[in-house]
Amino acid sequence: MNSISKYFSDLFRGISSLWAGMRVTGKYFISPGQIVTQQYPENRATLKMEPRFKGEIIMPHDENNQHACTGCGICEINCPNGSIEIITDRVPNVDGKPERVIDKHIFHLSMCTFCGLCVKTCPSDALAFGQEFEHAVFDRHKLTKVLNQPGSSLKKEAKK
């Protein structure tokens, strides 16, 4: 007798606990206003990342195609993974003295862990984080990027 009553009490307890869970899912089923899913590839046009989002490392250039990088190499020293390489050149400046300018600021996206040390330690704020996050490519060599645009030069006010 005891086992029969236990059987039925277990059965009803089970049904009531299932009902409690089904009530939660049912509540969301009939209230589509609470749907939080983003339809990602379709909403690409309206998708905005946060301004601080660490998507990739970029070197901002102004309208005269000038950047602020002096080629000091602090970002290269601070990078824990060796994902930054700087190739510098020496060209004579207005006084005729040879001066260091960057030839290529190479950024290996494939090695970067986005620790943010290069952007933080840059003394002339030449580097920044970009919001681009769709980095998938078919050839990994495309992940090696030259950050300074061709023909760009150093901003005058960045010189000390």
């Binding site: 307890r13 089970g14 299932l18 939080v36 601080r52 620790c115 040390l117 330690t121």
Partner: protein, 375 residues
């Protein structure tokens, strides 16, 4: 005493039926292999095989400066990345005798607790899914998304945010941080009861976890089990209470302790900790003092020669960092005592004698993160 508690030698016999669970099993949450010896459906013994994701982080630390080490600690226990960062930062700050500003302590503590909630939410999702409740997975991730959005707004990354730096923070938190954190707390206070309705009270779930994987308090001490897994066996091991760091000495919160020691007790500890974490955040978020977000540090940090040790409470237990410095800008030796490594090896004790289906429930309740075991 400990010889009786710890079975350190397992003798394999030739007629044992051995089945490998992993390294690519979905419920091991990573590349971990259990060598399970079965007798019918009963587990006779179990040997964990680790090392599939060993990256040599401790060795890599010896070549990096103290600022560079931070981003490696993210990749140990990736679900409590912020807490791991803080452990290394605190060691360096203690060695350099730098007093970090109060603002940094408050923000770090709030972020620790947000990180703990996010980690427990993911554990809850995955634990439900391991036991066959797929709905739980979506509900947990839905709420975790709110925390990750707060993280993304302030630090720019969602999971591996190297936001701490020796002496303070990389940059100040976003102006919206306080508002969004408070919004999240009010939101999650409403949503947490749904977790209980969906999974905790479910009869199928309760039948699978109650009385399964019993761990006594002695066993927890002998194996060094810490965190919510240890507290499920009535072991008061919360570093936030024993040795308060950050702003934990300024807040009131309870250490959740359960005496049952089974899988359901470990489950309830984590569910209770989410509530406690919300309590801590509520006490701190309105009182963040103004000030600098970092103390003055030299660009090249050279720790004075000597040994330094600090421990923190991550979402999975006690993480201890031990640094030996010879006065250079890189450490001479860096050792991490990771909580998951100790928590893993109690598995044999919990699972032996039980059914193989319970193995998934037990390993889920220990909340293992494999990259933290292998480092």
């Amino acid at each position: 005493m400990s010889e009786e508690i710890i079975k350190d030698v397992i003798v394999r016999e030739s007629e044992d039926y051995i089945i490998n669970m992993g390294p690519q099993h979905p419920s091991t949450h990573g590349v971990l292999r259990f060598e399970v010896c079965l007798k019918g459906e009963t587990v006779k013994y179990l040997i964990p095989h680790i090392g599939y994701i060993h990256r040599g982080i401790e060795k890599m630390c010896e070549a990096d400066t103290y600022q560079q080490i931070i981003h490696l600690t993210d990749r140990m226990d990736y679900l409590s990345a912020h807490i791991n960062n803080e452990a290394v930062c605190m060691v360096v700050e203690e060695a350099m005798q730098v007093e970090v500003p109060e603002r940094v302590k408050y923000i770090r503590t709030i972020l620790d607790e947000l990180n703990r909630i996010a980690s427990h939410q993911l554990w809850w999702c995955a634990f439900g899914m391991d036991l066959g409740a797929l709905t739980a997975f979506f509900y947990g991730l839905r709420d975790r998304e709110h925390i990750l959005d707060i993280f993304e707004e302030s630090f720019g990354s969602r999971l591996l945010h190297s936001f701490n730096t020796p002496g303070g923070l990389m940059h100040d938190v976003h102006p919206n941080f306080q508002k969004r954190t408070k919004e999240f707390i009010t939101y999650f206070r409403k949503k947490l009861p749904e977790y209980d309705q969906l999974l905790t009270g479910n009869i199928i779930f309760q039948e699978r976890v109650k009385g399964v994987g019993y761990m006594s308090r002695e066993k927890a001490i002998a194996y060094g089990v810490t965190g919510p897994s240890g507290r499920g066996s009535n072991l008061a091991c919360d570093i936030r209470k024993i040795a308060p760091y950050g702003a934990y000495d300024k807040v009131q919160f309870d250490e959740i302790l359960m005496t049952e020691g089974d899988t359901f007790a470990r489950y309830q500890v984590r569910m209770g900790e989410m509530l406690e974490s919300m309590k801590i955040i509520e006490q701190l978020v309105d009182n963040i003092p103004e000030g600098d977000f970092t103390a003055k540090m030299k660009p090249i940090i050279k720790l004075p020669a000597g040994e330094y040790f600090k421990r923190v409470e991550t979402a999975r237990g006690e993480l201890a960092v031990y640094v030996v410095s010879d006065g250079n800008k890189t450490p001479y030796r860096m050792k991490f005592r990771s909580p998951n490594f100790s928590n893993l090896f109690v598995m044999n004790e919990l699972a032996a004698g039980g059914k193989i289906a319970d193995l998934v429930a037990i390993s889920g309740s220990l909340d293992l993160v494999i990259p933290d075991i292998d480092r």
